[in-house]
Every structure is written in structure tokens, then in C-alpha cells.
Amino acid sequence: MEIQKSEAYEIRTSQDIVSVRQAVRRCAVEMGFNLVDQTKIVTASSELARNTLDYGGGGVATVETVLNGSRAGVRITFDDEGPGIADIEQALKDGFTSGSGMGLGLGGSKRLSHEFYIESEPGRGTRVSILRWKGL
């Protein structure tokens, strides 16, 4: 898989969540995503950016456009150095929340993506990565 473009965005305030959404939208438009695909990947990114801020204590979102043969996609990776997630399987279930949210963040963004990857170590932080291909 070839990474075409990569941009990093810090997530420290709720305004930064808006910036991440806009950056993901720009990439999806650039790659020629249709409106539904754009909306799905932007919404998934918004959920994960909020997780990074609320539960991870802030972090970084890396927005990338990728090519795999003739397939084009947008990948976003969220890294934080927060408390981490002890039970990832439980955290992926709808309705699970350790804060004031509705607990749709992880499960919902997984459903809105074609590829989903999560890695977390209690006390060290969390990395979540989502990818959506164009027109799949």
C-alpha cells in the first residue's frame, strides 16, 4: 500500500475535532469519494477524534490518502497517550461508555469504515486506525 499524502493534526480542543473533520472531508473529496462515502468517513473520524480528546486526554490524528493498486482510500490514525482501554472487545460494543458519551464511538466508527484497527495498552495509550476505500 502506497501512502500518497500524510498530514498530522493535533487534537487538544473541540475546535480541533472540527479541523480533523474538515481535513478528512478535503482528502475524501480529492480522492473522488461520493457524498455518502465522504459523510461516513468524516463522521467516523469525528467520533474517534472526540474519543481521543475526551478519553485519551488529547493526541494526534494522521490523515492519509493511500493507493493499493487501482484502489484509492483515506486512512486516519488517532494516537493518544491516555489511560488506554483495558477491555477492547467490551469497548467496541454499542452502549459502552466510561464517560458521558453514548458509547457509539468505537463500534459506530468501525461500522462506517472498511478497515479498522485498534491497539491499546493500559497506562500507555491507544491507537485507532480506520480506512475507507473509494466506491467499495
Binding site: 474538515q22 459523510t39 468524516v42 458519551g101 453514548m102 459506530g108 461500522r111 462506517l112
Partner: protein, 132 residues
Amino acid sequence: MERIPILKMGDFLLVTIQVDMHDRLALALQDDLTEQIVKWRAHGVLIDISALEMVDSFIGRMLSNIANMARLLDAQTVVVGMQPSVAITLVELGLPMKGIRTALDVEKGMRTLRSYIEANGDGQGGDGNPEI
């Protein structure tokens, strides 16, 4: 601080959300709207989200909260103009949006509010509180 404007139309309030809302702006809207409902004794609230390209669980929760708060203040809420791509995404996200009434545009939303208020026998065109 930046604010989302609230327009008074008869005994309805109209909010048109045209910016990509950050969280503080969304919370300020909740506060402003509940204040305005009481100030104008409004019986209906229309929230036009046709310019919103995305609704995530935070914004969805805010819309639910507004509808619930408004109901406690004797006002009904209709969310109008949701884009099809937003509706598709919300369902896949798993956001219930329970208790939220919707209409395709502002005009239909007004009709929904009118018929609801008429059916419940108060409000229309005036102050529905009998104790005043």
C-alpha cells in the same frame, strides 16, 4: 463568543445551523434556545440542519437534548432538512435519535408543528398558559 442565531416566527422559533459546530457552540445553542423558548413563550422549535454535512453522536445527542428540554418547557421540536447522506450515516453509526420529529423542509416542519399544537388544543397564535 460566536453564537447560532435564533429567529422568532409567530410562536415558533427557527434555528438554522450553518456552521460546522464545535462543542462549545452546540452547548451555547442549548442554553440560548431554552432561554428564548421561555422568553417568547414559544410552542414550537424548528431546527434546520440542511446545511449540515455531518451529524455525529455529539450533535445528535445535542438535538435530542434540545427536543427534551423544549418538551419540558411546553414546546415541540422538529428537525428539518436532514441530508440523505447524513441519514444513511446516522443509521449505520447506530444513533437512535429517539423522540426527534423530522420534516423534509421548514414549510413541512411548520405544518407538523401547527397540527400538533392544534391537536393538543393550545398555543396557536397566543399564550397557552391558562394561569396567566
